[in-house]
Symmetry: C2
Subunit: 157 residues, 2 copies
């Protein structure tokens, strides 16, 4: 084998290794993103305001229906506390679609939710719809919510 062949062979090997490493890293990133989404849901099931708000980026925003955008940890904690205070509040969601940029610092999750609660008159009520969340990877490697939005599938009242 000539020196040139050795160099080309090494270059091809390095290129393929790099491609494999990037692909593996992206799968790992997506797994971690989906795990963060599932862990965020757990804080909703536990109605833990502080832990739920801690999943949001310092510049994170909630784009929830029937209210303007809410930005920053303390405003997010307040909005989350208001939701958890709704009688018999129970929210579940399921991720149907997710993705992470090749560079690994930006991703999204999207899916459906079901939400049950008691309305102002104390009557059981239910809503179902869809959500879309944008996540930003933090310097410590954790994923945090940059933007979170949802809306109902039900027809208007």
């Amino acid at each position: 084998m000539s020196a040139l062949q050795k160099i080309v062979g090494t270059a091809v090997f390095l290129l393929l290794s790099t491609i494999a490493a990037v692909a593996q890293s992206n799968t790992k990133n997506l797994d971690e993103l989906r795990a963060a989404d599932a862990a965020w849901l757990k804080t909703y099931e536990a109605k833990d305001v502080d832990k739920a708000a801690a999943f949001c980026d310092d510049q994170g925003s909630l784009l929830w229906p029937n209210a303007p955008r809410v930005t920053g940890k303390s405003a997010i904690a307040k909005a989350t506390a208001s939701a958890f205070a709704i009688p018999d509040f129970k929210l579940e969601w399921h991720t149907d679609q997710s993705g992470v940029a090749r560079s690994g610092e930006l991703g999204y999750t999207s899916g459906t939710y079901t939400w049950t609660f008691k309305d102002a008159s104390g009557k059981p009520a239910a809503d179902k719809g869809k959500y879309l969340t944008i996540w930003k990877k933090q310097p410590d490697g954790s994923w945090k919510v940059l933007l979170d939005m949802f809306n109902t599938d039900l027809p208007p009242n």
Copy 2:
């Protein structure tokens, strides 16, 4: 200057050039993304269903309120045509926040909208709220909508 100094100097120069090129490429990507968002709005102002739908990725979805997710060009065209058919439909939106991943193939835009129309009884009606759109760069370099969602800021009826 020693050979080692020359090598280190060259390496530092190449590193800084790469960082500058990546930063410039990201600014260009973000400019192109925001231009795509603005061009999409133009198709809404013109109520051009085909051109509006053409801004969506082949696997794109509309996550609009009061209906389940709508996926694919033909379903998107149908939903868009239904919106444009609302009497005196007029939609405007404004991008407040946007970002592109360092790898340049995934981005998002978010902002506010105002929407005026005539309701079922022919009375002028208005809505305002916020939106979040995820964009995917296509092999031809254009940005297309992967997921588009909005909801109202107004209190429930």
